[in-house]
Amino acid sequence: MRELPQKEANLFKQILRCYENKQYKKGFKGAEQILKKFPEHGETLALKGLFYNHLDKKEEAYEFVKKGLRHDLKSHVCWHVFGLLYRSDKNYEEAMKCYSQALKIDKENLQIMRDYSLLQIHTRNYEAFADTRHQLLELRPQNRQFWIGLAIAYHMMGKPELGIKVLATYEETLKDIPTKPDYEHSEMLLYHNAMLEDTGDIQAAFDHLSTIEAHVCDPKTLKEKRAQFLLTLGRQEEAVAAYRTLIAHNPDNFAYMDGLRKSLGLDNDNLTCEEEVKVLDVFKELQKEYPRSNAAKRLPLRYATGEAFVKTADGYLRIMLRKGVPSLFVNIKILYTDKEKEQAIEKLALGYLAALDKSKCFDTAGSSIEPPTALLWTLYFLAQHFDFKRDTAQALGYINRAIEHTPTLVELHMTKGRILKHAGDLAGALDSLNEARELDLQDRFINSKCTKYMLRADKMAEAEKTVVLFARADIVDPLNDLVDMQAMWYSLEAGESHIRQGQLGRALKRFHQVEKHFVDFTEDQFDFHMYCLRKMTLRAYIALLKLEDQLRSHAYYVRATQNAVRCYVALFDKPNGEDSEEMEGMTDAEKKKFRNKQRKAELKAQKEAEEKKAQAVLEITKKGGKVDEDPEGLKYSKTEDPLGAALKFLKPLQELAAERIETHLMSFEIYIRKNKLLLALKSLLKSIKIDANNATLHEQLVRFALAVQKAGDTLKPAVKSVINKHWETLYQGKDLSGFNAQFLAKNKDLGSVPHLISAAIAVSLIHPNDKTKAEEILFAMGEDKYVSTRSLENCLLSMKTLKSLRSNRLQEFKTKAAKWYPKATAFQS
């Protein structure tokens, strides 16, 4: 029974409209009214379920939608509704099945087809998307959206030439082209041009520009594209003119100036002397023409060398120090990849300081008396410069002088904190940051930085207190609001602090928050599939699709993954709880005692916490907030399958960050523990391809060989033969001791501490009963040639390695390291 009497049929139409207009309560009432008379009307039952869904009643929603479907299996409405319900729960696979059922019943239903296509593009099923879009166009060829939808489908399939054909056909059918500037038409034409560019036929794209010029209302893009195409086509003179026009519009655009330089044929990585002179002349002219342009002053520093560099840098630094530009060093340090430039800058800055001290001028010739702030910013610059070189003593000397000069400047205290952080004094760093914060309580940046330093020093309570200072006043649970606001830096820093404190559950909870944010980013694009087509923001839409596809290669996701994998691997290795840092090097009996003590303290703290929590819960629920059911993150730390969970985290990186060695190093750690030797082998081979001399890779190779040895005859012949096939690639025909010796010899002149650590670990695995050899290798880092990689981080890693070896030479190492890093608290006994 589907046909309703006239009155109810009208009511049914009304409730459909209610749904479209988001009047869910009203629609719900209407549905109930129909159901009073016709309690088994399938479509109404299904709609009632959909209304339930929007009124936040999930269970009832599914119940009624399913009930409706049972009563009317042949209704496309019921299937469509079921699909919408699944879609709202992000169950795209099931949703698509429902849509496809609905379309079998009602083949030409535009609405369902359109909804179906949204899911197809969302799940990147381009072929099917193109199909659906094709059908839509055939049904409604007068509708622009359908033409463009099909063009996008072809474009995303990697067939821009088909997309172009679609757009061209549509453009031909247009009878009256808008004479006034029309944004939507303009955007379509520019999209057409972008597709032409994607085909690689730049000449065609260039020619196309002049045909659309009159209708485009984004003249800047037009000019940029023209200049870019002229340059690609080798029409240098015209390109030069085009870029000069662009520079006149915006003389601070680095890309325009790059374009001009390339158009002038000065595009080599290593310019000859003549070319260098030419480039510098070009910028000199630009400086004269645009005296306020920063780009024209800054860019020559990239190209000048030798004497010319000193002269250019001298001019630039003076202007910036006189003006007081706090970001000057950040802007300059990129040049330090060139040692010669680094030294030149150091010499200049030290020269200014001496002259300013003596005569308040930048040089002894004394051109003009500089304001007192010039001395201040010079000291600040020098402090950062020496911190960059990790010369803590000099850096601290300059920053303390600067603070004495002007103690009210926030940046100085911040930099002092940074220097101390680099020196390994986290508590001192935090104090400086807090001083900075107290100087300017309304600066969110310094507040966040201070929070970060608190987390680095594992002061969680202080960090929480500080970070919420900037929460909106009306927020019930400000800490949770940070999660809602997707403040990933906070989640990551907090999670890393939890790892250091051995709270893996809490740590994992943080990393899963980050992962959830990335899921949300992916979800967020759903609305844009429709919106962008309607609003015709086509180029931005294509850029969005490409961005979403790359999303998880973002540094934050990589960092969350590395940490999560570390946690899960640790949980697998030590299900009873990871050793906290203070437990490293203890014997098992000591550990047991320590754990018992910890557990007692925990129980006591837990009792107190629970009392407090009960209070807090009462308060939060009273205000309508949500209560955290699992603050410890037990859901993660007690998982049955930590390696599986780790792998799930890692999967996207195996696709998106396959060029990063870290991805494969992580994969190995998981597979070797799962005893999946072939997959472990695959990870090793990939790592070798990226960087055969990677330090960690060496240790993994040794572990792999030992695992194969241990498996011995239990290996399946097929597995064994694959491993054998690659054995030569892995170990170059050496036995393990020989392999390790070869690794050491090869890196003898490299002076790399990470390689020493890796070799030491390897040797300790090969000869588990003899740690002297491993110790000897590690202590070689005292030699002068290791000075450049004897960073604080590497010293800490070495110490950790010695601890895990239960080395008797730990104290000896600490004494040495304390000499290298006198401020580092970790080496002080």
Binding site: P371, T373, T408, Q442
Partner: protein, 174 residues
């Protein structure tokens, strides 16, 4: 010295100076300044008053860097209900930024505002302050701005080596 040395005498580069309000958010900077500039530790009540006195407490910026401050308080003038005196509790500039006119700028701001009290406020009869008796520089500075020595206060700073002070005042014409 060559004859054209005078013409070659280096000129001061241009700089920007501006006055700013003291707010709960930058109070930390004022505290920092006072710690460096004055041997006295000021009580929390001092900083509370500073926040309420409006134009009579200011921070001065040199090229956007906070380098000095002035803080006053109002007192009822003797035997009058409609007249008040303004007491300059602190006025100071960080050492590297002295002799650039910043102190004068702050003092002039205070005097100007003291002269133009709005109709619903009491009029200010005089502005006064104390200076350590050996502080020649300060004495000269205030005299230049029309202040006169009203009295010598013996043992005004009991904890300092030079404990005497001069009370300087400037009577405002109505």
């Amino acid at each position: 010295m060559s004859s054209n040395a005078i013409e070659d005498k280096p000129k001061n580069a241009a700089f920007r100076v501006g006055l700013g309000d003291i707010t709960p958010n930058n109070l930390g900077q004022l505290k920092r300044l006072n710690t460096v500039l004055f041997p006295v530790v000021y009580a929390p009540s001092f900083y509370k008053e500073v926040l309420e006195i409006g134009e009579f407490a200011k921070i001065i910026y040199f090229n956007d860097v906070c380098v000095g401050a002035v803080c006053c308080r109002k007192e009822d003038a003797d035997g009058s209900t409609s007249l008040q005196n303004l007491y300059i509790a602190t006025l100071g500039v960080l050492a590297p930024y002295r002799r650039l006119g910043l102190g004068s700028k702050m003092l002039m701001h205070i005097l100007e505002n003291a002269e133009q009290t709005s109709s619903n406020e009491s009029k200010i009869a005089k502005v006064y302050l104390h200076v350590q008796s050996n502080n020649e520089e300060a004495l000269e500075f205030y005299k230049k701005h029309g202040f006169e020595v009203a009295e010598k206060c013996e043992n005004y700073y009991p904890n300092f080596e030079v404990s005497d002070a001069f009370k300087l005042e400037k009577v405002l014409t109505a």
